[in-house]
Amino acid sequence: MITEIIIAALLAIGGTFGLVGSYGLVKLPDLMTRLHAPTKASTLGVGGVLLASMADAALRQGTVSWHELLVTLFLFLTAPITANFIAKAHIARAMPREPLPPTGTARDWATLDLSDEPVMPQLTPPGRPGRPS
């Protein structure tokens, strides 16, 4: 009985945060703030469901399940990178420059200035004669 309550509560928490996160994605005004909403869904929302799954395995079936930990690991790896990519692209393409502080170098925000040393590589794989690229 208690185990079922715990599992149900975890599921409910997960579901709620998932809903809130999705709502925020629709509702928030600009990209930078909107970026925050799905993080709630992916951390607390999915985390709740994963915890519920682990609890279910441990408390009701008597086994230890490691899958959820792996899922968490990959989630923690991919979610920040995605957010980082989106934010960088946004800064580079659509963000007004006035509110940003100066970068302190000659370069713009989130940008690699290619003007100083453009590199034209030799792309023939090693040990293979080929056309100079």
């Binding site: 692209a89 170098t105 590199v119 034209m120 590589p121 794989p125 690229s133």
Partner: protein, 945 residues
């Protein structure tokens, strides 16, 4: 040596010259000659047995269900032809070594020559007409390569095309004829067909089969009205002409007529068609040849004429005539090969083959003159040379065959042939010495004249001692053709009462007169309007070519949308026929409940598909929508208990999206709106019809039980016992249908190489390359291409991903996984490195060549398949066993895992090669890459003073 090995030797030997040309021209020619000599010795060992009347056979089942077996036999006829092919082939190899100039690629020449030799041997040694057809087509193809050997000469290319078109068309007709013949006889084995004479000649299908087979034989042997390709094939190098047109290619048609003589000959149809074609060819060829100034053209038409003579003899349908035909085949091969080689020598030394510019070479080239005179007199039929013997026997046969016109025309043909033979000798070698040769001629080195001299020696030897030198061979061949023991009586003197003596005398006298009149007649001939064969041929071919160009332009204009609608419409029309003739009501099976999760997935799939249609003008958006479809499909597979498919689908999806994104980089990001309303209506209608039809079909199928027991039960029951794995999908892939998989990975490898080749052509100078250089990206570049977080994460992920790949590979035989999925997983792991750290950085850190990876994969798979031969099992039989090595638990090893390794390597190599090809495009388009791991590094350097 078994006949199969004799026929296979030249094919095996064809690999050698291409390799050994690196060791020099002598080594190349020697090894080619050695292979031929080996086959010739192997053939020679059978001579005693064949002379005893035995037939040596090798039988190898190939496709017994089709009646196509690799059965070979060697009888007297085969011995005669195989001996000519190999013997003259050997001389040609010697001659070509000294004839070809250092600029000509000699290895290529010998490889083509050996391929051709093998194909010819295959024809004459086949005991199965389907096998014979295979070799027949091979001679057409390999002779195409030989005739067009001098690719830089337009005449060479045109001549080769014409020969291929004519003989190829004849070959097609012959396939039909042979199939009819096999159907009548009830077997495709020659030995059986040769026994079925009465059944074949009584059949209603006899005449169509006869005509179709003769079409094949006549085109190959240049019989009227298909004689025109042969002179144009003279654009080939002289060794090729000497080989193809004296002993081999053009004799293939003759061989076939002789081979099928026992079952086809003896009817009025055979007599009239074959005899008249031969007779016309004989006279016409001789007359045209008389007025040719080019030595090789003259010889070409003389070949046409002599082939007509042999055809006519076969047409008579009597055993005596067939025997004369065999004798003349031998004689013609000896003197004609010698004459062709002499023509080549004259061309080589005097730099012209034009008779009008030659003359008086007698003293300048005494050796060549002697050879040419002996061979030329034999061609004219002057006693005591071998040409005289067979020609007189031919005249005797013609005189005894009603109607009398045949004897008259045969004498006329012989008369003209005397005239052109004398003209060849007199106008080239006799007469006053000239001062205006293009090049001062003299006798060539021994290497060049050794081969024709040997042949000239044979001409004399057969002429003087016909019974000793050639009698036994003619007996054996004629015996094989007629099916009864034959005994030739070849003699120079038959008595005054013999009509052939007077016909011969008339021919020689008339020929001399004709030679005297030649200058006058030549002027007359030039003034006369004559049909030009090449113009007629081109006139016929041009509309055909235009028609196919037109069809291709209409059906294959390079527009995918057109291919699609034509294909879809065709399928719909054809399936409508099936729809009308079959039952299409829903079945009686109970439907399962629709579960909510399945319904949601289905709705998502539908929504994404509709969105693709609506948004297809925005390509990036379309790609994302297609990815959604792919993801939903893989989820669907997982839901429907197909984990293997789900894993494959999802990894394929990831790779596809990444590669498409790379390709899209160079394409416009939107599709132009160019469809008109009618086109949209048409496409919509077709799509709706097709979709509804497929949906209806699947509904009808899935609502009823299988009509027949499904093969699935067999796989499920036997996957563990036969294949040693519990994952049925994987066992099917690597074991039950391993051969299919082998084909598929080969195709996959080829596709990847094609992408590479296409990229290569874009990267080499040309219009496309210019466009690529001038390409300006239509979207802004990312500011920071290799963000630190991404780089670090992928670096950390690489070992994990590789381990997952290995794990999936190893477990594949028993639980979902396998080489294909593992290959994709590892490819994705590597692609991630390329994406995160950049191509320059990553490429510098991997030392494996992707081409080699693909090749290694296919080779590993093939080697695994071949390995089962050593265990005495058929190709690709798998084996497995259980082993225990301390401290591991018991585990299974299966040969299928090795095969799977091949799949793994090929998939990995193919994906990575496609990726690197696209990246090369990016570099050519002016995009830079970083040599350091990520951009942060260069930033630090920039801050240093």
């Amino acid at each position: 040596m078994s006949p199969a090995l004799i026929a296979a030797l030249p094919f095996l030997g064809a690999l050698l010259p291409g390799l050994l040309i690196r060791a020099g021209r002598n080594a190349c020619a020697t090894v080619t000659g050695f292979v031929t000599l080996l086959a010739l010795i192997g053939l020679g060992l059978h001579i005693p047995a064949v002379l005893r009347g035995e037939v040596i056979r090798t039988q190898i089942d190939w496709l017994p269900a089709l009646g196509l077996n690799a059965n070979f036999m060697l009888d007297g006829l085969g011995l005669l032809f195989a001996g000519l092919i190999l013997g003259i082939g050997l001389l040609i190899i010697l001659y070509a070594r000294f004839y070809l100039s250092p600029r000509d690629p000699m290895g290529q020449f010998y490889t083509y020559l050996m391929l051709f030799q093998g194909a010819m041997l295959g024809i004459v040694l086949s005991d199965n007409i389907l096998l014979l057809l295979v070799f027949w087509e091979l001679t057409s193809l390999s002779s195409f390569l030989l005739i067009g050997y001098w690719k830089h000469l337009p005449e060479g290319r045109q001549g080769a095309r014409m020969a291929l078109a004519v003989t190829g068309a004849g070959g097609l007709a012959m396939i039909a004829g042979m199939l009819i013949l096999g159907q009548i006889a009830g077997s495709y084995d020659l030995s059986d067909i040769l026994q079925a004479r009465d059944a074949i000649q009584a059949s209603d299908w006899y005449l169509p089969a006869l005509i179709l087979i003769l079409l094949g034989a006549f085109t190959k042997s240049a019989q009227f009205p298909f004689h025109f390709w042969l002179p144009h094939a003279m654009a080939a190098p002289t060794p090729v002409s000497a080989y193809l047109h004296s002993a081999t290619m053009v004799k293939a048609g003759i061989f076939l007529m002789a081979r099928l003589w026992p079952v086809l000959a003896g009817t009025p149809e055979w007599f009239w068609i074959v005899t008249s074609a031969g007779l016309i060819t004989m006279v016409l060829g001789a007359v045209i040849g008389l007025f040719k100034d080019d030595l090789k053209a003259l010889l070409a038409f003389s070949t046409v004429s002599h082939l007509g003579l042999i055809t006519m003899l076969l047409g008579f349908g009597t055993k005596a005539a067939a025997m004369v035909a065999m004798f003349h085949i031998l004689n013609h091969a000896t003197f004609k090969a010698a004459l062709f080689m002499v023509a080549g020598i004259v061309d080589h030394e005097a730099h012209t083959r034009d008779i009008k510019r030659l003359g008086g070479l007698r003293r300048l080239m005494p050796v060549t003159f002697t050879i040419a005179t002996l061979a030329g007199l034999s061609m004219a039929g002057i006693p005591p040379l071998n040409g005289f013997l067979s020609k007189e026997m031919m005249l005797e046969q013609a005189a005894h065959t009603p109607p009398g016109l045949i004897g008259l025309l045969a004498t006329l043909g012989a008369l003209v042939s005397v005239a052109y033979s004398f003209r060849l000798i007199a106008h080239t070698f006799l007469g006053p010495q000239r001062t205006d040769y293009p090049h001062k001629p003299h006798d060539p080195g021994f290497g060049l004249w050794a081969a024709p001299a040997l042949l000239a020696g044979l001409v004399v030897a057969i002429g003087l001692m016909p019974m000793t030198v050639a009698g036994w061979l003619v007996d054996a061949a004629a015996g094989a053709v007629t099916g009864t023991a034959a005994h030739a009586h070849i003699a120079h003197w038959h008595g005054l009462a013999n009509p052939a003596l007077w016909m011969s005398l008339a021919a020689i006298g008339g020929g001399l007169v004709l030679l005297g009149l030649h200058p006058t007649l030549d002027r007359l001939w030039t003034a006369l309007p004559r049909p030009e064969a090449k113009r007629i041929f081109d006139g016929l071919m041009e509309p055909l070519a235009a028609l196919s160009r037109h069809l291709t332009a209409a059906l294959h204009p390079g527009m995918l949308s057109r291919y699609l609608w034509i294909a879809t419409a065709t399928i719909i029309i054809v399936s409508y026929y099936a729809f009308r003739s079959g039952s299409h009501l829903p079945g009686a099976r109970a439907l399962t409940e629709v579960e909510p999760i399945a319904a949601i997935g289905w709705l998502l799939l539908m929504a994404a598909s509709v969105a693709v249609v609506l948004c297809h003008h925005q390509r990036l958006l379309t790609l994302i929508l297609i990815a959604v479809v792919g993801l939903m499909v893989s989820v669907g597979f997982a839901y429907l208990s197909a984990p293997d498919l789900a894993l494959t689908q999802i990894s394929v999806e990831v790779v596809t999206v990444i590669l498409l994104l790379l390709a899209l980089n160079f394409l416009p990001k939107t599709t132009p709106r160019e469809s008109s309303v009618p086109r949209k209506v048409r496409d919509l209608g077709l799509a709706a019809l097709g979709g509804l039809a497929v949906g209806g079909l699947i509904y009808a199928l899935m609502t009823r039980d299988f009509a027949f027991p499904s093969i699935a039960d067999y796989h499920l029951a036997n996957s563990k016992t036969l294949g040693g794995g519990t994952n049925v999908v994987n066992v099917i892939l690597v074991d039950f249908r391993g051969y299919d998989t082998f084909g598929e990975i080969t195709v996959l490898g080829i596709a990847a190489l094609l992408i590479f080749a296409l990229t290569e052509s874009l990267l080499s100078p040309g219009a496309a390359n210019d466009r690529l250089r001038g390409w300006v990206s239509d979207t802004p570049d990312a500011g920071d291409r290799h963000p630190l977080m991404m780089v670090v994460a992928t670096r950390m992920m690489l070992p994990i991903a590789l381990m997952v790949g290995i794990y999936i590979f190893l477990r594949g035989h028993n639980v979902p996984g396998g080489g294909f999925i593992a290959g994709l997983v590892v490819a994705i792991a590597l692609v991630m490195q390329y994406m995160a750290s950049g191509f320059g950085w990553t490429a510098a850190r991997q030392r494996i060549d992707y081409h080699g990876l693909i090749g290694a994969g296919v080779l590993v798979a093939a080697a695994t398949g071949i390995g089962s031969w050593f265990a005495g099992r058929p190709f690709m039989t798998s084996n497995y066993g259980y082993f225990e090595i301390w401290p591991l638990e018991e585990f299974e090893l299966a040969t299928a895992a090795l095969f799977d390794l091949g799949v793994f390597l090929t998939v990995l190599g193919a994906v990575m090669l496609a990726l690197s090809s696209l990246t090369r495009l990016a570099v050519r388009a002016g995009q830079t890459v970083n040599t350091e791991a990520f951009d942060m590094q260069s930033e630090l350097e920039a801050e240093e003073p």
